[in-house]
Amino acid sequence: MITLAVNGKQYETDAQPDTPLLYVLREDLQLNGAKFGCGLGQCGACTVMLDGKAVFACLIPISLLPGREIKTIEGLGAAAAPGVVQQAFIDEQAAQCGYCIAGMVMRAQALLEHNPSPSEKQIRDEMTPNLCRCGTHMRILRAVRRAAQAMKRVAL
């Protein structure tokens, strides 16, 4: 059994140690926010936070994870009470099909926790690994900027 700390709760799983975190999240823990896109760390749909940093859940075997803190989009808020970054994405209507958005939100969350006032270049550089095939990048960038402003207001 491997113990995982996800969104502040402890979970035990009997999955094989080389199973990617993404599959355990989705299939065992029923946390379906993170999506399977490419399975190769190339698209970002599976992005979650590991000890505060954005990572590809499809490439992380759970054997690496005991003692580490995982956060998924379910840990930021729910439809009834969205987190700050989630609300910014809603306000900017940043989703078209929405498949990439959970990953986008998690990468933006990690960026803003680390750097509350990112420059435009820092936002673009940080968001680069995450792809959106609908092409809503401009809205996504606006949402990240809005989230940065909103987080500052929350902090005041």
């Binding site: 009997d14 999955a15 094989q16 140690p17 080389d18 199973t19 990617p20 599959y23 299939e27 065992d28 399977f36 399975g39 190769l40 760390g41 190339q42 590991l50 000890d51 940093k53 954005a54 990572v55 590809f56 499809c58 490439l59 992380i60 075997p61 759970i62 054997s63 690496l64 673009r124 680069t128 690994p129």
Partner: protein, 330 residues
């Protein structure tokens, strides 16, 4: 539990020789680095370029025809020739170079002198990249990466042919060696804008200095591992029949980084990956700096060296890892 969506399997027999993808494979993905360095080509500052334009006659349409890289390249190489003749007659004659580039001495003097003659000596790192005055092209360190030797000491497992070198220099990727990384990635971006015949001339020159046939036979060619880290983090791309290998990426056993004398490039590659470069197509690999702890990194690096190289075990893993963590990504 082993989810079934992970990957599909294709019989090895359907793929040709394992570890050496077919030449027409649409390759743009990679494992490992294969830095080949003449960093002067990418670090030619705009100020230098203007100065050169004053006394080197660069073809008027060079920039328009082949982009900024070509103009820089022409300026450097025309000057190395010791006069301001146009570049084409001098270097775009692969036949002549092929007959005896080393004996001819001109190409060597152009390239070597990139690092020691005014005003190019102000360039930041070609001397480290390409060796020293005493040992030209013996390799060296540049921006936290090791540039491999470009002469007899080349660590390449598969021989660098003129074809492979030309393709590598123009695309940043070689299906038998790996991908350009660190400062070399920018060099290959610049060379993509240079006429192929000129890049081929460089390839002819360096291919003539590197060993043929290879000094080592490849070690293991595929990942089939019981190690959960390797199986979960690496195999999805680098394993037998993984999508990357079908897209043309070399086996890790051919990777220049895995077969290098130092662990520096392998560690850089695993920690920081091959980042996407805005506006440029090219190889990509995600980094694992936020995923792997130091002990986990050491295990992975040791595993790669043990299983995919016939080289002696690396003794510098801990120190190189500390340095790469400290310096961040390239």
């Amino acid at each position: 539990m082993r989810p079934t969506l992970r990957r599909t399997s294709t019989p090895a027999s359907a793929l040709g020789q394992v570890g050496v993808p077919p030449r027409d494979a649409p390759g743009d993905r990679s494992s490992g680095t294969a830095s080949l360095s003449c960093a002067a080509l990418s670090t030619f500052h705009p100020g230098d370029r203007r100065r050169y334009r004053r006394y080197v006659r660069v073809p008027d349409d060079a920039g328009a025809r082949a982009g900024r890289g070509a103009a820089q390249y022409r300026a450097i190489f025309a000057k190395r020739a010791g006069d301001d003749r146009r570049l084409e007659p001098a270097i775009s004659a692969p036949g002549r170079l092929a007959r005896g580039p080393v004996a001819d001495g001109r190409v060597e003097s152009w390239l070597v002198s990139c690092r020691c003659r005014r005003p190019l000596r102000r360039l930041p790192y070609p001397a480290q990249c390409t060796g020293s005055r005493d040992k030209p092209f013996a390799g060296g360190e540049a921006e936290g990466w090791d540039a491999p030797a470009l002469q007899a000491a080349s660590p390449a497992v598969a021989p660098w042919t003129v074809e492979a070198l030309t393709a590598y220099l123009r695309t940043g990727f070689s299906a038998e060696h790996g991908a350009a990384a660190g400062p070399m990635a920018a060099v290959t971006q610049e060379l993509a804008a240079v006429p192929e015949s000129d890049v081929r001339a460089i390839a002819v020159y360096f291919a003539s200095m590197m060993p043929h046939p290879p000094s080592m036979a490849p070690a293991q060619t595929t990942i089939v591992s019981d190690d959960p880290t390797i199986a979960g983090a690496c195999e999805g791309c680098h394993g037998l029949d993984a999508p990357m290998t079908r897209a043309g990426a070399p086996s890790l056993a051919l990777s220049s980084a895995v077969n290098a004398p130092s662990s520096r490039d392998a560690i850089q590659m695993i920690l920081h990956g091959l980042p996407s470069r805005e506006g440029h197509a090219g190889p990509y690999m995600p980094g694992f700096a936020s995923v792997l702890s130091d002990p986990q990194m050491i295990d992975v690096v040791r595993y790669l060296r043990t299983h995919f190289s016939n080289g002696s075990p690396w003794t510098d893993i801990e120190s190189q890892l500390r340095a790469a963590r400290r310096d961040g990504g390239a």
